[in-house]
Point group: C5
Chain length 154, copies 5
């Protein structure tokens, strides 16, 4: 039985962790989910590392929604660096799912984007854990999560 | 008996550490507080790591007030990176509470913001330690510290 | 028998990993290739570290194609930092092969660039592993991968 | 007997290390000073770590004077990150004393600033080592080093 | 017998490593030189760490010539961070000698600068290893490598 961690925030304005958990349950078996919620995205790196080292998660999905200000962009950068560092310290993948508040011009599209990106990255995490060959088949295919795929060039 | 560390600076123009300590005492029991004051925010990462490793703190609240210049913004960035690194090295949460001097246009609002953000993040630290389920219930709710909550989208 | 790792992404819009593998096979023997595909470039650092530590790769080629937006540039920066960190943690070279989508003005040139840079860096990886003296002979020669060499000054 | 390390550079245009050493000797006893000079600020992090781990320093003061160009600002940023990392690896404070060449418009004021900031931070280092309660009393007081204190708000 | 490592790149447009090696041989004895050439500056951090840990170098000189584009500046930043990290992981100095292609307006001056900076930093490395007191005497003297010294203020 594999363990998939889901770490999200109270700062995010959409229940991205819920969407990721729902998508995982719809699409596979053979795993259990452990969830953890922290205040903001800068709290995610250590939360994910604790899920891996103290809760034995085999992979973690880290979800957050950075705000539109320069300060928020910097927070996202710092969180991303921390998430990469946490992965290197544990030899375990953490799939980062960030939706920036200014990626869309209206709330409805933002909710749609947050939901879809969380779900598509949940499947990426599932595939990394159970079906790495599925990812290999899509190498260089221009896949995107949330918005439509860009597709391969030419 | 849990131990909550509070690290703050002589650079800050408001006693944010005092506000955090006061809020903790008003809202809970079962913990003791250890405080530590350093000159500036770049001294916070090692101060917090020492609180965790040498004073056995179970969680730390790191408070600071970066100035308005580009140089100050860079200091805040470096301090934040260090705080994330300290958490990853100790598997322990450090709640960063930074109030930027240019977040408000007048001193009175700045004092209000520093006080309120310190108090609200003190409760976040308390909840992470004693009531993690309270945070889980607020996942994706658009909570903010200091200013009003943004709330969930839709 | 040496092992060369190739890590690439489903985000890239060209099969750069395939080009690197093809070039290696055309030019040398005495090694086997292990491939790994992840969603995006920020997933590459831990993927490369796992190739080194869990699959015993002697060197890794990490290929990706960052998008044209500021957010994409930041992702590339974070991935690069992580790749350097992974190398320092393992004392093993990881040759980064990134092609930015905005390096060319049309798709056809982009595909040409991605293919050629992947192939030229595959040879760099091969030389680092088997013929380090070939690199030493080209010290300060202004070599480039993908576009034409700049050449030495004067 | 405590040991205070002082690391400075040949790049700086003022003998900041000398000023720090002089101030320490004027104000306290019970310690000895070990000095180390490196070419530039990017050489300071490892110099400080060696002072701590190979010369048994209990605290280190790292002094430098970054130039006015963008490239110099980036050097200062990299040095600061390294100094924070060195502290986290050793659980030892390193007090960074950087004076940017463009903080003043004339040389005379720059010399005054470099001297005063070095001296005031030397006292911070002394207090961190011998009188941490003195810092605690000044929490949130808006203290500055070199220029006048900003003071607390309200 | 001390060992001095020299790491340079095939990307650089001038044989900076050769200049550094020549200068070392002209000015001192009691050491041997081990050279290593990698494709670009982002390959330097691990190359230097391997020189230290696998070839027993007592100090390393890392030479490179970043291009003029924003992307090149970012590469230089990432390489510098890695070089600092490598030093902290090994408690060994790595003298970074970077010449940016846009530091001069013509090729001839660029070659002059690359040669002179490499030579002057080679002497810095030599002094750090054999004559640290020579550096101490120049603390705060405003020394520069390549261009003329700025000199002390006042």
């Amino acid at each position: 039985m594999k363990i998939i961690g889901i770490a999200d925030t109270t700062f995010a304005r959409f229940d991205m962790g819920g969407a990721a958990a729902d998508e995982l349950k719809r699409n596979g078996t053979g795993f259990k989910i452990i969830r953890c919620t922290v205040p903001g995205i800068k709290d995610l790196p250590v939360a994910c590392k604790k899920l891996i080292e103290e809760q034995n998660c085999d992979i973690v999905i880290a979800l957050g929604m950075p705000g539109p200000k320069d300060k928020d962009k910097m927070c996202a950068h710092e969180a991303s660096q921390g998430l990469i560092q946490a992965q290197l310290m544990t030899n375990t993948h953490i799939i980062e799912v960030f939706v920036h508040e200014d990626e869309t011009s209206d709330s409805k599209t933002l909710a749609f984007l947050a939901d879809r990106r969380a779900r598509e990255h949940a499947l990426n995490a599932y595939n990394l854990l159970f079906r790495p060959d599925d990812l290999a088949k899509s190498a260089g295919k221009g896949l995107r999560q949330g918005f439509d795929d860009a597709g391969p060039i030419r």
